[in-house]
Amino acid sequence: MSWSFPREEIHTRIESDLFVFPNTTEYRASPSTGRQPSVIRKDRKREVDMKNIMVDGVKNETVGRIPQQINGQQFVIQNCENCNIYVFDHINTVTVDDCINCNIFLGPIKTSIFIRDCKQCRFVLACQQFRTRDCQKIDVFLCCGTQPIIEASSGMKFGCYQYYYPELEDQFKQAGLSVFNNTWSNIHDFSQDPTEAHFSLLPEDAKVEDYVPDPTSELFKNVHIDHMTSKSVVPLTHGTRRKISDQSCLIVFFHDDYSQSKVWQFIKNMGEEHPELILIQTKEVMMQPPDASRVFRTDTYASAVSQGPVIGLEYNGDNSVQCCQEVLSRTGPAQNTFISQSRDVSASQIENFYNFADMQMAV
């Protein structure tokens, strides 16, 4: 893909003297070629790089980056007001500071996002770590690989990440994020207050595009966003909301060349045939044979788990065990999958599997 937009023009509003770097950066100055570029050219390049990875002090505008403009670098957003900001690329790490009333979409973030001193903002983002401090009234459609944390923040609302554009799936891979590891609803509040809840979950029917509208400006015309639930690269999960039934079913797909597409086919079929059942949570995790013996209470899956990470789904609803069994048998050959045999055993299987996965995720 070739992008030919006026790069300089977009960035001219950004002050270039924000970061003053001494020339003596002994750590970074390690030219791989024998030729040492001139200091002036190096500084000029750094200045351009800095502008590319920052949005600073913008008001009442729509700005952002398109695929391959950031390509795994860090990104910084600060001092913005009434803006729509879109970064349709994978990113190393993000800080968002001192922003008011902004709508922000961020592509998959390999490490952490830290949001500080922001208020009345709406986000759609995927990351490994989600952190906030000193924020008020933030809505987030989140995909987070670990437990999201908030500190000294209030009026925080969370929903399940839902998004699609053609490059997005690959950007998740580039960032090392699994679309099946999303603990968006299990928030840890460092400033717990028994008299006041600092966070809640967005309504189940909340639509991403009602919070962070699609960009309409020319810059983003080649980013083809689609909001159909079935297209989202991250499956829609119910999270920690109250379950609709006391019956759940565990389905585990063991790793092979087709396991990912089998999972997606299964989720699609479930949505079409049993819209009354809900996907509570998903998890992609490595298991060793002894782990499999403990979780499934049999040695049958010892070799299956050795093939690579497994993907587990929990569906909830009356009769979910029987319905999942039927859909799974129609989705394809049952080999390389595990499914709860009966409702009597499914509850403990789900507990075993997700407890194991949570332990794996801890340090």
Partner: protein
């Protein structure tokens, strides 16, 4: 082996066991550094809610490294871990200019702690792989490390994520301990 030799061996091995305290603000990269020191995978690290501890073997030393969560709310608990600390590692996010002052204040408070009196300090100027990272020299100046008296100190530019500078930092820890003995 005679009883005396056995006792001597136990004594000498216990002498080589060090207690290392790993502190710094939240999001500085303490746990990533801890896992890198232990040569573990750093791609699935969760924000620390309490503490993590790992034992790392290095050049005849047994390093017990305590990594304590850095959120403002839980910093008052740091003092519960001060006892018998042999070395203080302080991790700074070199890109987080917004909080350079905050991290400097926290470090100064640590240096004034009676229980950490004379304890050698290694500051890790972390995240040097990122474009907006301030160089270690600038951070040393900002923290006024030159003014530190009564303890050994060293600042180490590093990226815990890519492991650059982490081994060099370890080298300094070990040589500081050798000097201290």
């Amino acid at each position: 082996m005679g009883l005396l030799a056995l006792l001597r061996k136990l004594k000498s091995s216990s002498e080589k066991e060090l207690r290392i305290l790993l502190l710094g603000l939240d999001n500085a990269g303490k746990t990533t550094l801890l896992k890198k020191l232990a040569e573990e995978d750093v791609s699935h690290i969760t924000p620390t809610q309490g503490f993590n501890i790992k034992t790392v073997q290095s050049q005849g030393f047994r390093l017990n490294v305590w990594d304590i969560g850095g959120q403002r709310k839980i910093r008052p608990y740091w003092k519960n871990y001060f006892d018998n600390t042999d070395i203080l590692l302080y991790v700074i996010d070199s890109t987080d200019r917004k909080r350079f002052e905050e991290t400097g204040m926290e470090l100064n408070e640590l240096l004034e702690e009676e229980k950490l009196h004379g304890v050698p300090l290694v500051v890790f100027a972390n995240k040097q792989d990122l474009a907006t990272a301030a160089p270690a020299s600038e951070i040393a100046e900002g923290l006024q490390l030159q003014a530190i008296r009564g303890r050994q100190w060293h600042i180490q530019a590093c990226s815990a994520l890519t492991a650059e500078g982490v081994k060099d930092g370890m080298q300094h820890i070990v040589s500081m301990m050798a000097k201290k003995k």
